[in-house]
């Protein structure tokens, strides 16, 4: 907790902390850099954990409760490490009207997990998005950052099967 005004030391030798520190420095360690910094943490580490939140909160002199409140308010931030592969199904209206619900069911069945979860072998995570703005090619699914449009159940099954060799 920020009982002193000194900047806290980096949590570990991990070089990614310097990237995080860089974002904060660029914003002059201003409190309003909290969300920007959390984005950097998530980009660098894939998720936020309490070590990171404490480090960022202490550096920016944001109360811990506020930092945690912010991190959990915005659904883009995740507190769990993602799997090796991430399948993100868009549930926007256009996709929903064109069968995104069925795709989600297929993906849940194929991976044996619910949306928001990661397989036990940490191979794959299944996520949903509110709308990724690819409505013109609905239904859309993002596989490891790459958007695929007009997705049919078959494409989805093939792609997921490729991630988890039986």
């Amino acid at each position: 907790m920020p009982l002193t005004s000194k900047k806290p030391p980096l949590p570990s030798e991990d070089k990614r902390w310097r990237i995080v520190n860089g974002t904060m420095r660029r914003h002059g360690y201003a409190r309003d850099a909290l969300i920007e910094t959390l984005h950097t943490v998530q980009e660098s580490f894939g998720f936020l954990d309490k070590v990171a939140l404490r480090f960022v909160a202490d550096s920016l002199r944001v109360p811990l409760s506020q930092a945690y409140g912010v991190a959990t308010f915005y659904h883009f931030f995740t507190m769990k490490p993602p799997g090796e592969h991430v399948c993100l199904i868009c549930m926007g209206t256009a996709c929903y009207i064109k069968g995104a619900g069925a795709l989600l069911n297929e993906a849940q069945a194929a991976l044996g997990i619910q949306a928001g979860e990661t397989t036990a072998d940490a191979k794959a995570s299944l996520m949903t998005a509110r709308c990724i703005g690819s409505c013109s090619v609905a239904p859309a699914v993002v596989f490891d950052g790459e958007t695929m449009g007009n997705v049919a159940g078959k494409n989805l099954r093939e792609k997921l099967a490729g991630w988890r060799p039986a």
């Binding site: 309490k50 811990l64 409760s65 506020q66 930092a67 945690y68 409140g69 959990t72 308010f73």
Partner: protein
């Protein structure tokens, strides 16, 4: 000395009243013994405008306005009681009861609870909406106090008193929507918080049995938030 703020005259429920320009409708009404129900408001804390119980009708304004944050204006005509307002107020109370597990009969604050009082005052004899029955924890880790999430109405008085008066910033709000709940620091057990000063202000301002002092039951568990006015007044003098 600041120049005296200008005085506005307005009408509340047909009664002519005057108020300082920096006063809210709620302040003006209460000074004139016109009751407006509130839950998130507490004298001495900033306003949240969250409970919506204090909504009033303003002549010439289509939307209902919260009395706690709406400043008085010259010539304003305010209606604080109407069948429509009363209906909405009752619904707010119903929604709160349905949201979490407020089992009054087995609550530390039974008969000393602002939510329970509000239900009686507004004539809520039953809740028409389906109860949600969420499964919520009770944090008993603090040596003197308990946090029972089942009884919390998220008025955030505790968050505000901890931030604005005590300055510890121990309390915060986790998540959002109907899943939002109070946290201490990084969502750690209250008893392990090292920002908490154990001052107990949060307990005193809590309107329900969500925050209470251990080993105090019955009449002993009566809350007393009056210290807020004293603290604020003394601070003002020091300045």
């Amino acid at each position: 000395m600041n120049p005296a703020p200008s005085v506005k005259t307005l009408m509340i429920d047909g009664k002519d009243v005057s108020a300082r320009a920096d006063q809210s409708i709620l302040d003006a009404a209460r000074e004139n013994a016109i009751p407006i129900p509130t839950l998130c408001h507490l004298d001495g804390l900033s306003e949240a405008g969250a409970c919506r119980l204090c909504l009033v009708e303003l002549k010439g304004t289509p939307r209902l306005q919260p009395a706690c944050v709406t400043l008085v204006e010259e010539g304003m005509e305010v209606t604080t009681q109407s069948p429509r307002l009363e209906k909405y107020r009752r619904m707010v109370v119903e929604l709160l009861f349905a949201e979490r597990n407020h089992v009054c009969s087995v609550c530390v604050s039974n008969n000393m609870c602002e939510l329970q009082d509000m239900a009686k005052q507004l004539g809520v004899t039953h809740v028409r909406f389906p109860y949600r029955y969420p499964r919520l924890p009770v944090d008993t880790t603090h040596e003197r106090f308990t946090m029972d999430h089942n009884r919390c109405i998220l008025c955030t008085r505790c968050v505000r008193v901890c931030t604005e008066i005590e300055g510890a910033h121990t309390w915060g709000v986790f998540g959002r929507g109907v899943d939002a709940h109070l946290i201490t620091d990084l969502d750690i057990p209250w008893g392990t918080s090292d920002t908490c000063t154990s001052c107990g202000k949060c307990v005193q301002v809590c309107p329900t049995g969500a925050l209470f002092e251990k080993s105090k039951v019955g009449m002993q568990s009566q809350k007393n938030p009056d210290f807020l006015n004293y603290l604020n007044e003394m601070r003002e003098i020091e300045r």
